[in-house]
């Protein structure tokens, strides 16, 4: 989602950063972008050169006293390097490991200096807001979640791809009007937002407005705008296991709860989805999820249990059915695969 902005309209981000630099008194900006986005890097480089040539970046911008330089820093693609303190360390050339906050970057950030750190979408919004006024921006979306949001629509849905919608749009509109609904013969089951840090919105909440506050009420987040649709063929324990597998791989290993806890949570999910879980395992799973959420150092570990907690909240029966799995029991969502494989 952010990549599409960097590739499609890099000048918007540069302009937003320069304005932010002017407002906060910074003279140096960095764009941290992962190496896996070569087109974004190429276009950003070109855009920075163009902006420097016409005096929109560099020294004495518009003949003023204001100087602002933007450099690109390329990351190796570790998820944890999106966490702000890890990102700062990575720009400094160190290992991308988070550190406890406070001090927040605004107090002590890059090389110990006060640092403003924002997302691509945030910077991309700045210039249009200044040009058209805050009233224009606030008129889009809801009072508390103003503006639009870009989602990457994926999963069991007919039309996948990037969409930009006003905040507060009902989920139903995204799934059915834009996405065209789930594939033939299946029904909508849930939508996962916020990726491995988020949670799911169950089928009976189709009229939920998609904004920050409403997503929080169902225990999910907006995040970077991933929106994965699950239909009646999806197994929610497998969904949770998939995201936990990701977090096991991406944990930086600094703090004990996330480094070891994610491995044990994944092991328990594996055991339960394999039909070998007991009620004690389910209780332990819930306890470990709560513990990892409350004790981890950074946002990665703190949010890693969310997909499990969320699927437990709305689809608990899919877990409990597996616990007492009798002989020949077919887990939820596997019915179709079973019938085709005989």
């Amino acid at each position: 989602m952010d990549r599409s902005v960097l590739e499609g309209d890099p000048h918007r981000v540069l302009e937003g950063m320069a304005i932010a630099g002017y407002a906060s008194g910074a003279s140096q900006g960095f764009i941290y972008v992962r190496a896996e986005y070569p087109l974004a890097i190429e276009r950003l480089r070109l855009a920075i050169k163009q902006a420097e040539r016409v005096g929109l970046l560099g020294n004495r911008i518009f003949d003023s006293q204001f100087n602002f330089r933007i450099d690109i820093r390329i990351g190796a693609g570790a998820f944890v390097c999106g966490e702000e303190t890890a990102l700062i360390r990575s720009i400094e050339g160190k290992r991308g490991r988070p550190r406890p906050r406070p001090p927040y970057p605004s107090e002590k950030g890059l090389w110990g200096a006060p640092t403003l750190i924002n997302n691509v979408e945030t910077f991309a919004n700045i210039a249009p807001i200044i040009r058209k006024g805050s009233a224009w921006f606030a008129a889009i979306g809801t009072p508390k979640s103003a503006g639009t949001k870009v989602f990457a629509l994926a999963g069991k849905i007919r039309n996948t791809g990037l969409i930009e919608v006003p905040m507060g749009i009902p989920l139903r509109k995204i799934i059915f009007d834009i996405g065209g609904g789930t594939p033939e013969g299946t029904t909508f089951k849930a939508a996962q937002t916020g990726g491995p840090s988020g949670g799911c919105i169950p089928g009976d909440s189709l009229d939920l407005p998609v904004d920050y506050e409403s997503l929080a009420t169902v225990g999910s987040i907006m995040g970077s705008g991933g929106l994965i649709v699950m239909d009646s063929t999806s197994n929610m324990v497998d969904v949770a296991k998939y995201f936990m597998d990701f977090c096991v791989d991406e944990s930086c290993g600094k703090c004990v709860p996330c480094r070891v806890g994610t491995v044990h949570i994944h092991g328990l999910l594996e055991k339960i989805s394999g039909g070998r879980g007991t009620t004690d395992d389910l209780a332990l799973l819930e306890e470990l999820c709560q513990m990892v959420k409350e004790t981890s150092l950074c946002g990665l570990g703190q949010s890693a249990p969310n997909p499990v907690l969320s699927t437990l909240r709305f689809f608990r029966h899919e877990y409990t059915e597996l616990l007492s799995a009798p002989e020949g029991f077919v887990p939820a969502g596997a019915a179709n695969e079973k019938s085709t494989t005989g």
Binding site: S251, G253, K254, V256, P257, V263, G267
Partner: protein, 244 residues
């Protein structure tokens, strides 16, 4: 620097605003379990054993890196904290291969002590039995990664106090490991001065001296306080010398 008053476990205490909650608690005889913290080294907030509750926030805060605020109400020993500390020790126990009965620091091990302190009676998560190496190439010392809890005390003491920066962390998540000199055998390390500081600060039997028998090695970390204080106060400078 200002002196603040706060409440820890119902007791009114005072502390400096540039000290950690952990330091203030310990000055008042309130013990908070720790593992990655060591007086004299920088704090990293990694083991999460020292987490405390602060009134008005649902979040937990590591006492070793949290600064006090006027009127702060801190709890260090609630039922929830005790439960979470026990799980942290269970995680550490399950993550390595800790065969205490044949360990040279048996009965002098901080991990063992923490297990007693947190009332750990059994480990409810499965042991992970990782495949880790033992490196005995150094002439005086051994690193047994099976017993490492990744507290990074060795990394910090070697970098911050000895100035050699022999140790680093390689890998990510559960496959993190302490390595010497870009993953060369310790014995081949060009940076290690063989000072032994890392061995003394290691809380477990991961770093040990050669030739110690089972349960014989006791680690002393006091030296660190002396060195750090001496440096801060410039005690090694001979004030009588007229070299200048």
């Amino acid at each position: 620097m200002a002196i603040l008053t706060l409440t820890i476990n119902g007791e009114h205490v005072s502390g400096k605003d540039d000290e950690s909650l952990l330091a203030i608690a310990s000055q008042h005889g309130i013990r908070i379990p720790t593992l990655c913290h060591l007086d004299g080294l920088s704090d990293v907030g990694a083991c999460r054993l020292c987490l405390v509750e602060i009134e008005g926030s649902p979040k937990l805060f590591p006492a070793c890196t949290t600064r006090p605020q006027e009127g702060m109400v801190v709890s260090t020993d609630t039922e929830r904290l005790r439960r979470y500390r026990r799980i942290i020790i269970e995680f550490l126990a399950s993550e390595g291969n800790h065969q205490c009965a044949v360990c040279v620091v048996n009965n002098h091990c901080e991990l063992q002590n923490l297990a007693y302190e947190t009332g750990l009676t059994h480990v409810s998560v499965p042991y992970l039995y990782p495949k880790k190496d033992l490196d005995a190439t150094h002439k005086d010392f051994i690193i047994d990664r099976n017993r490492c809890v990744l507290c990074t005390r060795c990394v910090r003491v070697c970098h911050e106090v000895e100035g050699a920066h022999t140790w680093d962390i390689a890998g990510r998540g559960i496959s993190c490991e302490i390595i010497s000199d870009l993953n060369q055998p310790w014995g081949a390390s060009g940076s290690c001065t063989s000072c032994g500081k890392c061995v003394l600060v290691c809380p477990t039997g991961a770093l040990i001296e050669k030739g110690e028998a089972v349960a014989e090695m006791e680690k002393k970390t006091d030296f660190l306080r002396y060195i750090v204080t001496a440096r801060q106060k410039r005690e090694w400078v001979n004030v009588d010398s007229d070299e200048e």
